[in-house]
């Protein structure tokens, strides 16, 4: 066991804490801050500091430490919050996040950023409350414990003392008599390697004070003074070594003679003082803030005299942390790697297929045989259980869109601030669930679209007022399920896009455009590489890179982007994503000897076409009249070259389907029925097939293709065009002839 094994746990927890912190900072009402929220922010910083200290991430520890002190002033009401202070806090949070990432990738964090943020935070403390953040002194250079800076220490200490509520002080004094200071413990480390040992001794030094240490690899004895209980020591040590490797005994009273331990205290006190003083301040003020946050810290405090409490208090942060830190997430959730979940999903998918296979076999059995009914019963039970299991397993991967949307208040706030615009963010459909892999991949494109809307879409407040709109622009993020797809919209009530400007710009960029292009095609121009209409490049956007990347990313997920825009009213960008990893409700159809699956969400109805309702149009095209509507007919056997299919439309079945807002009539031989299918990606081992969105495995183990309605239509048109060309001598053909 190595301490590095716990790094990942710390990183993940710290990440969550930072996210919490950001959330609270964003929610914070600067005019009337909620004490509970400030406490939560403080606690987050405090927890990170504790963890960072334990694992030796000094830069992060120091940053959080300074930050924590400042937050402490804020929650005591000494520091009046303002929007720009919250901005700085957010920046500090970002820097801590960067530092965390640096540690994660085993690099040293950016020193300049560290120094800068420390200075900024200190400056705030100076300017706002006139207090110097003592621990920050000299921190950027090396070790916070360089100590001895009496000038900075004194005011802090006195501040802490005066702040501390009366009863807590007297209580501390009273109980100190019973406790008679510190106990001495002998901690023996058995079979601990040198590297771990050094770590452990450092760790112990944080818990109390190491008075002496000696021994070898087999048995290394450390004598510790302090009020830490043996259980606590063991709990901390167990992070690094096994419980069997620790032996804790009470040291002989003779060793803990007052005269001996007192000097120890003094010397260690001086080295720890700077950090300690501020720490004491933090803990002393805790009872005062009337929060449920005390974390047992004040209780510990009571064992000692106020004088002693100062050098001893810093250990509490790292020591106390591990326990709540470990327990809290365990009670509600566990961390499992996505690979494992995927494996379970695959296995369950296999189970379902096996179950359907068995089901088919059982239903083919002769019903007369004895015991058959119990077999049938068992099968139906198995089916139900398997389905339930599948549903439960699938839901593991699904996470609500809130996960994505939650980052946008920050993005909007920052961007709006930079652009000096007033923008209100509205989110809808936060609970819409989406597969985790998609959630991860949608974040970047979405951020880009939001930034774009903020920068190019929504106008400056004055301009908005001039055209009779409210000064505050509105940006709406929404998500909802639409059929088998997920529709995510970014909507703004800004200026909208100017068709003429886009066309002009497109010509300048040498794109092939015409004035008669339909609006939708004009809007799609912004996805061309290097296309930007913004007159000047801003921090936020306008470099012309990005929108093409957005489109490519979304296409890579099998989705598409559509834009609707109206001059003066705003722009609506919608992202339609298919459910790649999902179970699909499908309608299985038969054409010739082949079975295909249609997404049930696309199927509207089916009917037997009558001859008089079929009309030929412009040669090959055929339309079917269904209740006063003329629908293009797509014969699947033609599109997919299926042999042995019914070619007479009046003998086949027309399935009316809808895709991207258009309706089509598909000609199929037979409807086999509805079934739930597990969507299997074709592109994993093969490639995208036109007219097919994915594949699935049927009950008999064979593969069936899931049809893509719009893809089918495109394919059918392409084939008809190719067919028309083939009738004439075409350059395509002659070129092929030449090459072969």
């Amino acid at each position: 066991m190595d301490i590095t094994d716990f790094f990942d746990t710390f990183f993940e927890e710290a990440e969550e804490l930072l996210a919490d912190m950001e959330q609270h900072l964003l929610d914070l009402d600067v005019d009337d801050p909620d004490g509970e929220q400030l406490n939560a922010i403080f606690r987050a910083a405090h927890s990170i500091k504790g963890g960072a200290g334990t694992f030796g991430f000094n830069v992060l520890q120091k940053t959080t430490h300074i930050f924590e002190n400042l937050l402490d002033y804020a929650r005591n009401g000494e520091l009046a919050l303002r929007t720009d202070l919250v901005d700085t806090f957010l920046e500090a949070k970002d820097i801590m996040h960067d530092q965390l990432n640096a540690y994660r990738s085993e690099e040293e964090p950016d020193h300049d950023a560290f120094v800068r943020i420390c200075q900024t935070l200190q400056q705030i403390a100076l300017d706002e409350i006139g207090a110097e953040l003592e621990a920050a002194k000299g921190a950027p250079i090396a070790n916070a414990s360089s100590g001895g800076d009496s000038g900075s220490k004194a005011p802090a200490e006195s501040g802490a003392a005066s702040e501390a509520p009366k009863e807590s002080k007297s209580e501390a004094g009273g109980e100190a008599g019973d406790g008679e200071g510190d106990t001495h413990l002998k901690v023996a480390l058995l079979d601990v390697g040198e590297k771990d040992r050094t770590l452990l001794v450092e760790e112990l030094d944080q818990l109390g004070h190491v008075i002496e240490q000696s021994g070898d690899e087999k048995r290394y004895e450390v004598t510790l003074s302090g009020n830490t209980s043996a259980d606590d020591i063991e709990a901390v040590m167990c992070f690094i070594i096994e419980p069997e490797q620790i032996e804790i005994t009470d040291a002989a009273p003779a060793e803990s003679a007052a005269g001996e331990s007192a000097p120890e205290h003094d010397s260690s006190a001086s080295s720890d003082q700077t950090a300690a003083a501020s720490e004491a301040q933090g803990s002393a003020s805790e009872p005062q803030s009337a929060s449920p946050a005390p974390e047992a810290a004040p209780a510990k405090e009571n064992d000692k005299t106020p004088a002693q409490s100062q050098p001893d208090s810093p250990p509490k942060a790292p020591k106390k942390k591990p326990k709540p830190k470990k327990k809290a997430p365990e009670s509600t959730s566990i961390r499992v790697s996505v690979d494992k979940v995927d494996q379970i999903i695959n296995l369950v998918g296999e189970l379902i297929i096996t179950q359907s296979m068995l089901d088919q076999t059982v239903s083919d059995l002769d019903d007369q045989s004895v015991g058959n009914s119990s077999l049938q019963n068992g099968m139906s039970l198995l089916q139900r259980n398997a389905r339930d299991l599948q549903e439960a397993v699938m839901s593991i991967r699904m996470i609500p869109m809130e996960f994505v949307f939650s980052r946008f208040p920050r993005v909007v706030r920052d961007t709006a601030g930079k652009l000096e615009k007033d923008i209100e963010l509205v989110t809808e459909g936060k609970s819409t669930e989406l597969d985790k892999s998609l959630v991860e991949r949608i974040t970047d494109p979405l951020t880009h679209l939001v930034r774009n809307s903020l920068d190019h879409g929504i106008e400056m407040p004055d301009d908005r007022e001039a055209v009779g709109k409210p000064r505050t622009g509105q940006l709406t993020l929404s998500a909802r399920h639409q059929g088998g797809n997920i529709l995510i919209e970014v909507k703004d009530d800004g200026a909208g896009m100017d068709r003429e400007v886009l066309l002009k710009k497109a010509r300048e960029n040498g794109l092939n455009v015409s004035d008669t292009m339909p609006d939708e095609d004009v809007w799609q121009l912004i996805f061309a590489p290097g296309f930007s209409t913004s007159a000047e490049v801003t921090d936020v956007s306008g470099r012309g890179v990005g929108m093409d990347v957005v489109k490519r990313n979304i296409q890579a997920m099998g989705g598409r982007v559509e834009i609707q825009s109206k001059m003066g009213e705003g722009t609506n960008t919608s992202i339609v994503l298919p459910l790649t990893l999902a179970i699909l409700d499908g309608m299985s159809i038969k054409v010739g000897e082949e079975t295909f699956i249609l997404p049930l969400s696309a199927v509207l109805e089916s009917l037997q076409p009558a001859k008089e309702d079929m009309y030929a149009m412009a040669g090959d095209d055929v339309v079917l009249k269904v209740r006063d509507e003329y629908l293009p007919v797509i014969a699947i056997h033609e599109v997919f070259d299926v042999e042995g299919a019914i070619t007479d439309p009046t003998r086949s079945i027309a399935v009316i389907v809808q895709g991207e807002g258009r309706r089509y009539a598909l000609l199929v031989d037979e409807l086999l029925g509805q079934r739930q299918v597990v969507v299997k990606n074709l592109e994993d081992n093969y490639r995208k097939v036109p007219g097919v969105s994915a594949a699935t495995i049927l009950g008999d183990g064979s593969v069936s293709l899931i049809l893509d309605i719009t893809g089918l239509h495109r394919l059918s048109r392409a084939r008809k065009e190719a067919g028309n060309h083939a009738n004439q001598p075409t350059p395509v053909l002659s070129k092929e002839a030449e090459s072969s």
């Binding site: 695959n346 998918g349 296999e350 297929i353 490519r552 296409q555 890579a556 082949e594 599109v639 997919f640 070259d641 299926v642 299997k680 990606n681 074709l682 592109e683 994993d684 081992n685 093969y686 490639r687 995208k688 097939v689 036109p690 007219g691 097919v692 594949a695 495995i697 008999d700 183990g701 064979s702 593969v703 069936s704 293709l705 394919l715 072969s740």
Partner: protein, 166 residues
């Protein structure tokens, strides 16, 4: 000292010796690197993919994974292409993809020393020498050593989405 030297020499030659899975297409014998082979199975239950080149027979279900099946006999323009009990599918793992290739039969696994591998001469149109590791000569037999990685990821196989598409 000499012992270690011998060991080193042996290790080196072992590293250079390569094992190949030999399969037949019509009368000819081909071989592919054994390390690329995942498994060998029968030809069954293949779902046709419309509008794909004719040598792509379709896709099949390999324990829950959808795997494309390529018939090398069609790709190499062999005269007789029949599907019977002897028709086997070699499932290979190339470029993080699983692909099944249909062959007439699998005969054995051969170890070839570097000396036995001769450079391939320029071939005709059907099988460019780009897709060959060389020719293996084994007494009176000649093995065409196919670079299955290059062959299956080549553009003309249309198995892999070309990056230029998008």
């Amino acid at each position: 000292m000499s012992q270690t030297n011998n060991d080193a020499v042996q290790a080196a030659s072992e590293a250079e010796n390569r094992e190949f899975l030999v399969f037949s297409l019509g009368e000819e014998e081909y071989a592919i690197d054994i390390l690329k082979v995942q498994e060998i199975r029968g030809y069954e239950n293949v779902t046709r993919i419309a509008n794909a080149p004719d040598f792509i027979k379709g896709v099949t279900n390999l324990r829950g994974v959808i795997v494309p099946i390529v018939d090398l006999r069609i790709k190499f323009n062999l005269d007789s292409v029949e599907y019977g009990g002897q028709t086997v599918v070699i499932v290979v793992n190339v470029a993080d993809r699983i692909v099944g290739i249909v062959v007439d039969g699998v005969s054995d696994v051969m170890t070839l020393t570097p000396e036995q591998i001769k450079p391939a001469p320029e071939f005709g149109v059907t099988l460019s020498s780009d897709f060959l590791n060389g020719l293996g000569s084994l007494e009176d037999r000649m093995l065409v050593l196919v670079d299955i990685d290059k062959l299956l990821t080549s553009e003309e196989m249309a198995l892999v989405e070309s990056t230029r598409d998008s």
